[in-house]
Subunit: 365 residues, 2 copies
C-alpha cells in the first residue's frame, strides 16, 4: 500500500516529513537514550523541546509578548468551558455568535456558568451564512464575546469578504480557531483569547493551544479547581501537571515544518489556491455538486458539498477511496461529502480530488 | 547510542516491542493508507482500535460489566476535580486520606466544590507512613472516600501488610491508581471509581483511564459543563469530543503487550521481585543508602532513597547515567534519588541498578 490523500476533518493529515522524523527518532531522541515519549516533561531535553515549540509558534503567528501561550490537555471543548470559569463572574453575561455546530457546543458548555446571550445565530438558515455584525445583539458588560473563526462541520468561516469582526472595546473577543489557525496571518492583538485543538492545522491530536492576553489572567472568574485555572497553567509553563508531552513534541515538529515551508503567508497562498480549485469544481459542475454556503463566508479549510442525486453519494465515496482520496464522508450532522484541506494537504491533493469529481460526473452525471 | 534503563517516574519507559510496532506502522496503519494518528476517531479503523483497547483492559484488570471504562484527555489531576463535580452535591462532605503529595493535590482540586474532610494524613510524619484505618475520622454521609493507592513521589503504597482498606458501606471508595494500576490483580468491585494517568504503568502520556461503577453515573453532582460530565463521556463511548486517539492507540498496544507477557499476575511477580532487589540493596548498605518509608507501606513502584552523604548524590546520579541508568534524580519535593520501576522496567534493569549501587558504595563509601 502507499499513503493516500487524506481529507479527514481531524484527526487529520500530518506532513509526511514530520511523520518520518517522528518515526526515525521514536525509540531514541537525540542522545537521550530513550524516546521523547518516555522522558520526564521536566527533563532538560523535553524542556528544550517545549520551549522551542512555543518560540516557533510565537514566530509563526507573530504572537505579541503580552500574550501567554499554553499547551494543554483536553480538547477545544474543554477550553470552551474554561473560558467561562476563568473570565466571567458567576452568572455574568457572555455573548456568543453561533455560526455552526461548534458554536452551539461552545454555548452548551457554559450554560451552568454564565448568562449566555446568543448575540447572533445562523441556525435558522441552516448555518449557511453568518449574520452581519451590524445585527448582533451584544450585552452590556459582557465578560467576553465568543466567535468560532471557522466551523469545521458547516464549512463557514469569517472572511474579509464578510467584513471585519467588530471592535468590542473593553469586552475581549474570544475565538475558537481550531480548524483554521496558522492557515493565514492572524492579528492576535485583536483577540483576548484564541484557542485551537491541534489535530487539524497544527498537527497531532491530544494537545490544545491557548493564546491569552496576560492581563486577562488576573480576572477572578469563578470558584474552580486549580487544574481549571489558566493563570496556574501559565505560571507553571503549562506544566502544572504532566502535560501531553509527546503530542506537544509532535506539534513542535509541525511548527518547524510550517516555518520551513514559508510560514503563514505561504499557507495563506496555498489555502486560497486549494479553496479556489475545490469551489470551482463544485460551482462549475452545473449543479451535479452543490455547496450551500454564502460565498462571502465559505470556509477555506472545510468544504462540505452534496451530490444532486444523494443516491450517488455512497458510490462517490467508495470510488474516491479506491482512487486514493480518503475520508471524504460528510459529518453525520450534515451528511453528503466533506473535504478538509488543512495545511498538510498539498495543492496536488485538491487537484486530484477536483479531477476525480469531474471524472465521476462524466461517468455518472 | 543505545537505549538505556530508564527509571523516570512518568512519562516513563515504554515496552520496546510497543515502540517498535508503533514505529513500524507510524506512516501507515494496516491498510488505512494513513497513520493511525491521522484518521478520524469515528472511522471504522479507529473504532476497532478503541474497542479492542477497552476489551483488553477489561480482560487485564477483570473489570466487571457494571463498570464503565473511559479513555479521557486531561491527566489524573483533572479527574481529581471531576470526581467532586460528578459525584458530590455542592458543599457535600467528601473524605480524603492524604498519604503523600498527590493526595494533597487531589484535596486541593476540590476545595471549591465540597466540604473536604481530611480523614487521615501522613504529613506530620513526612508521609513516611499511612495512618491505620482504625484511626481514620470519616464523615457521616460523605459523597465518597478518596485514597491514593500509590504515592509516586513519597514512595508510599497501600499494601496487604498495612491491612485492608476499610469497608465503606454506601460511601463509594475512589482511588488514584496512576502509578500502580496493572502492577498486580485489582478487585475493582471494592471501588466506586478508579482513575489512572496512563504515563506510568499503562504506557503513553496524554490519556487517562477512568473505571467507574455505572450506577454512580446517575448521581446529579454539581452544575457543570457537559465536557466535565462523566455520564456524557460514558454515553458517547469516550468520544464526546475528539479523544487523544493516538495516545489511546499506544495504550492499547501496551495492554496487548501486558496480556502477552502473562497479565497482572505475572507483573505482580515481577514487581515483587524488583522491589525486593532494590530495597535489599538499600537496606543492606549499612546506612550508605536510606529509604525512610515504613516497611509495611513501601511502594513497589517508586523507591525514593537518600545517600548518607548527600554531597555524593550528584556524583551518584551522573555516574549512574554514564552506566546507562537514567532519570534517577529524586523529585524536587524530596530530593535524593528515586527509581521508578513500572511494568516496562525489566528485572534486569533493577538488577543493574542494584549492582551499580553496590559498586558505587565500594568506591565512595
Amino acid at each position: 500500500m502507499s499513503r493516500a490523500y487524506n481529507f479527514a476533518a481531524g484527526p487529520a493529515a500530518l506532513p509526511e516529513p514530520v511523520l518520518r522524523q517522528a518515526q526515525a527518532e521514536l525509540l531514541e531522541w537525540g542522545d537521550a537514550r530513550a524516546s521523547i515519549a518516555e522522558i520526564s516533561h521536566r527533563s532538560p531535553e523535553f524542556m528544550r523541546v517545549a520551549a522551542e515549540a512555543e518560540a516557533d509558534l510565537r514566530r509563526l503567528l507573530s504572537i505579541p509578548d503580552d500574550y501567554a501561550v499554553l499547551f494543554l490537555a483536553g480538547g477545544a471543548t474543554t477550553q470552551q468551558a474554561l473560558v467561562a470559569l476563568n473570565f466571567a463572574a458567576p452568572g455574568q453575561a457572555a455573548d456568543y455568535v453561533v455560526s455552526g455546530h461548534w458554536g452551539k457546543v461552545a454555548l452548551k458548555q457554559v450554560q451552568a456558568y454564565v448568562d449566555a446571550n446568543v448575540a447572533a445565530s445562523g441556525e435558522a438558515d441552516g448555518f449557511r451564512d453568518i449574520p452581519p455584525a451590524s445585527q448582533w445583539r451584544l450585552s452590556k458588560d459582557a465578560a467576553y464575546l465568543h466567535v468560532t473563526a471557522n466551523e469545521t462541520i458547516h464549512g463557514v468561516e469569517f472572511r474579509p469578504e464578510w467584513g471585519a469582526l467588530p471592535e468590542t472595546g473593553d469586552v475581549p473577543l474570544f475565538a475558537d480557531f481550531s480548524s483554521s489557525i496558522a492557515s493565514e496571518p492572524l492579528d492576535v492583538s485583536k483577540f483576548g483569547l484564541v484557542y485551537a485543538g491541534a489535530q487539524k492545522n497544527l498537527g497531532p491530536v491530544g494537545v490544545t493551544v491557548v493564546i491569552v492576553r496576560r492581563d486577562l489572567l488576573e480576572r477572578a472568574g469563578q470558584p474552580r479547581a486549580d487544574i481549571f485555572n489558566y493563570a496556574s497553567h501559565a505560571k507553571a509553563g503549562s506544566m502544572l501537571n504532566t502535560p501531553p508531552s509527546y503530542n506537544w513534541y509532535l506539534a513542535g515538529l509541525v511548527f518547524k515544518w510550517m516555518l520551513a515551508e514559508g510560514g503563514v503567508v505561504e499557507f495563506a497562498r496555498r489555502s486560497a489556491e486549494k479553496a479556489r480549485l475545490l469551489y470551482a469544481a463544485i460551482d462549475g459542475s452545473g449543479g451535479f455538486y452543490r455547496n450551500e454556503v454564502a460565498s462571502n463566508v465559505r470556509s477555506r479549510m472545510n468544504v462540505p458539498f452534496f451530490l444532486q442525486d444523494d443516491a450517488l453519494t455512497a458510490a462517490f465515496l467508495a470510488e474516491a477511496k479506491e482512487a486514493g482520496l480518503l475520508a471524504l464522508k460528510g459529518h453525520r450532522v450534515l451528511g453528503g461529502v466533506r473535504a478538509s484541506i488543512y495545511n498538510a494537504m498539498p495543492v496536488e491533493g485538491v487537484r486530484a480530488l477536483a479531477g476525480f469529481m469531474h471524472e465521476f460526473q462524466q461517468r455518472r452525471g
